[in-house]
Amino acid sequence: MTTMIAPSELRLTRARVGLPRLLWAELRWIFRRPRTRVMLGLLAVIPVIIGIVLTFADGGPTGDADPPVFVTLASSALALPIGALTVLMSLLLPLAITNSSGDALAGEQANGTLRGWLLAPVSRGRLLLVKAFGVAVVGLVAAGLVGTTGVLTGLVSNGTDGLITLSGTTLPLLDALGRVAIAVGWVTVQLWALGAVALAISACTEHPMLVLATVLGGVIVSQLLLVFDSLAWLHPFLLPSSWESMINLVRDPIWWDGLGEGLVRAACYMVIGLSLAYARIVTSDG
């Protein structure tokens, strides 16, 4: 038997990794993930496709009762990005954020990688903070990409002088860019609300697909419920009920009512989602 060696003289000191280091590691991980890249690439390409289709198909409105704004309004650097954001908001952008939330906790749990950080140790509160930050950045990047390629496509196909609003006024370029920026910011906040709810579900399961199915199902059902006037009492509780007010950014002057309400609604969803996610993550067994 080997002789007992005197216990090492390392003293236990409270050591903590700086938050920026964790956030950076999280971002590296998210953006190296092939799935994230494909998703973001797809989102970036869609406004370009819409722009090309509109340029060559000469935008004859469809039989749709309420065609998107880039159809009713000449494809411009203003209407294209905002219209693209509105259209993508109905499925693809929520998909991107939910996917990211699902990977953040459920996916990591399934891979057994969450343990690694918990044992480092990263406290559970900080872990949620880092995860929420990562999801938030994905939301911002997704919305930002759509906005950016939308503006660029609009500028290439229509130049800088066709920035027409629904009210018939023509905006200076800087003003139009400001509005697209507002749209991107607003969509980002809506995505954060979805992301927070998705994180709460993600904290409860090991299956990222379950997160995806639940949240996207919720989004689709909400949008369906919004069609029924008889459920008007329910509508203010549904997150997508303010998504249509994005069109108000293409009016002059901007109608802020619906947009402001949408932010408050998103904030409520965020508070609910994050508090449930926190409660779950601090009580769950890792």
């Binding site: 038997m1 080997t2 007992m4 060696i5 005197a6 216990p7 090492s8 390392l10 236990l12 000191t13 409270r14 050591a15 903590r16 990794v17 280091r21 964790l22 950076w24 590691a25 590296r28 991980w29 190296r32 993930r33 092939p34 891979n111 057994g112 990688t113 969450l114 343990r115 690694g116 950080w117 918990l118 044992l119 480092a120 140790p121 990263v122 406290s123 009580t283 067994d285 890792g286």
Partner: protein, 335 residues
């Protein structure tokens, strides 16, 4: 049987410092009791092997030790700190490979370790890179460092998990089934890593179902069965405390057993012959009895009880025939 207590205490020296200690540890999942009143000591500097059949509560105990699971009842101390309350103090000094390696398939082995290392409080920003390189070398993965984890073999994955546990300087390393999926060379490698850690004075807790593995590497053993500790202590003490055995090779095993039992000598049939308990008799009288009963004896040799034997006696649900120590009394005797 007092000398079966943890060695040092019996020798009258000051109680050794403990790297980990659990008291009345209990974990109840919704329907099942996974761990039921575990009192476990892991002395500093020791290599403790944790043994137990599947479902005996090994992994749950380890998870509670590391603060991954909150105990239903009882206390855990890790490096002298209460868990999970003071995990920020103790866990940086603890490396662990629990429930198999957990890594991202799309990242290379090195990137996986870099991500893990980013969260290690003991590694400064500039040390991360070297620490990862060292850990990869230590487990022999330097060549495969840049390949995607997805393409790793089971053994390579296991080794990467080991590397993850050894990223920072540790005082205590917990390895849950570290040789799982490893070929003999890999197993030797792990054995060497454990020996190195031991030489550095690092405490190691290894759970394994490979008894030979534990026998070869451990200084101490903890045996769990059905969520409770059935034996723990220094490996040598535990093995010696068992009654000596005579292994008799004979072409007519059953008859030999009958003959011995007729003479009130405990014996049982083993694959390689007949095992005879020598605690109440001597080798010569055994041989004599057999010869008188006309049983051919080809070979007879004294045998030190193997860990396997000990393990079998401690954990089998039904006592092996004529076992001299009833199973339910074992814990009392041991502690």
């Amino acid at each position: 049987m007092t000398e079966m207590m943890t060695g040092a205490a019996a020798e009258g020296a000051a109680a050794p410092r403990l790297a980990a200690r659990t008291r009345r540890l209990r974990k109840v999942y919704r329907s099942a009791v996974a761990v039921d009143g575990v009192d476990m000591d892991v002395p500093e500097g020791a290599v403790v092997g944790m043994l137990g059949p599947n479902g005996s509560g090994k992994t749950t105990t380890i998870r509670m030790l590391l603060g991954l699971v909150r105990p239903t009842e009882g206390d855990v101390e890790l490096l002298g700190q209460p868990m999970p309350a003071a995990s920020e103090l103790s866990l940086p000094h603890v490396g662990a490979l629990v429930e198999g390696p957990g890594f991202h398939p799309f990242l290379s082995g090195r990137d996986n370790l870099l991500r893990l290392a980013a969260a290690e409080p003991l590694l400064g920003r500039r040390q991360v890179d070297t620490a990862v390189t060292d850990a990869l070398e230590r487990v022999g993965l330097a060549d495969a460092a840049h390949r995607a984890y997805r393409g790793y073999s089971l053994g390579m994955k296991q080794r990467l998990g080991l590397a993850g546990a050894l990223l920072a300087p540790r005082r205590f390393v917990v390895l849950d089934e570290p040789t799982n999926g490893l070929d003999p060379a890999g197993t030797r490698e792990v054995r060497r890593v454990i020996a190195d850690l031991h030489a550095e004075g690092v405490t190691v807790l290894v759970s394994s179902h490979l008894l030979a593995e534990v026998e070869a590497t451990c200084t101490h053993v903890v045996v769990l069965n059905q969520g409770a500790v059935v034996a723990q202590g220094e490996l040598d003490d535990l093995l010696e405390s068992n009654s000596p055995t005579l292994l008799v090779s004979t072409p007519d095993g059953p008859r030999a057993v009958d003959a011995l039992r007729d003479n009130r000598i405990p014996a049982r049939l083993a694959p390689d012959g007949v095992r005879v308990d020598l605690s109440a008799t001597t080798s010569s009288s055994v041989i004599e009895t057999l010869v008188r009963a006309d049983v051919a004896v080809e070979e007879a040799r004294r045998e030190r009880t193997g860990l396997e034997d000990l393990f079998a006696r401690l954990t089998q649900a039904e006592p092996v025939e004529q076992d001299d120590v009833p199973l339910d009394r074992v814990p009392e005797l041991m502690s």
